[in-house]
Homo-oligomer: 125 residues x 2
Amino acid sequence: MISSDVIRGYTDRMILYLLLDQPSYGYEISRQIRKLSEEKYVMKETTLYSAFGRLEKNGYVTSFYGNETNGKRRTYYRITEKGRAYYREKCEEWHVTMEVVGKFIRAEADAGYAAGRKGERDGND
Amino acid sequence: MISSDVIRGYTDRMILYLLLDQPSYGYEISRQIRKLSEEKYVMKETTLYSAFGRLEKNGYVTSFYGNETNGKRRTYYRITEKGRAYYREKCEEWHVTMEVVGKFIRAEADAGYAAGRKGERDGND
DNA sequence: TTATGTATTACGTCTGTCGCAGTAATTAGA
DNA sequence: TCTAATTACTGCGACAGACGTAATACATAA
């Protein structure tokens, strides 16, 4: 399971990714994220729909109503060119982030009990 | 440059990483993050110090005053065993996150103008 | 005396996520 | 037929983390 603070900042991009090929709607996106992440991340409804609003406000997607006659009416979202550009940009940022955050990882063994205690001596409280 | 929303959720861990070997203090940590990330990420003072407060509240670090006689008095922070455990946990989470987020990345060429338009036909607004 | 670097703290704002709850429609089952 | 489950979306309020701005405090160099 992934905590929301860690995944935060990627929600918009995940949604855009799922819109690259065809328009889609909330519930469907939700299921796809769950499936693609192998249940490791489940986006909450409110998070998802507020993201749609944000994306639309920024011109990254446009919305339209589906014409299905049964079930509750769906709101579909279609990615715009601006949205595609934003998506690409965010992908690049991801590579940089990976690189940077990776520098703050230490091999498990080294970060543990036995090791990493050599500095524990200059406290002067 | 990395936006804060993307790095959010890693601030605590970056700080803990820099405390693994020896206690340190705000200003120093700040410089180290800047340097280690090769200027790609600069943690704001307020972010940093509020993180210290959070970490201490949660028992991941303890603080003590330095006894330097010149300059403004420093507050040093030392990682606790609980903090080390938390750090290790967060490192594992990072691997999972990398894996999951990676699934929402598409090769640049494919995400662009030319490609990825095959679905752009079933709009019914 | 002014500016610069070191080092920390206060206050208020904004954004994104979430919990909880509710609405609305269809279908399946007892 | 009543009920529950599934699909699909929305509203409201709370909260945490990051940030802008600014102040404080000390030292040193120009």
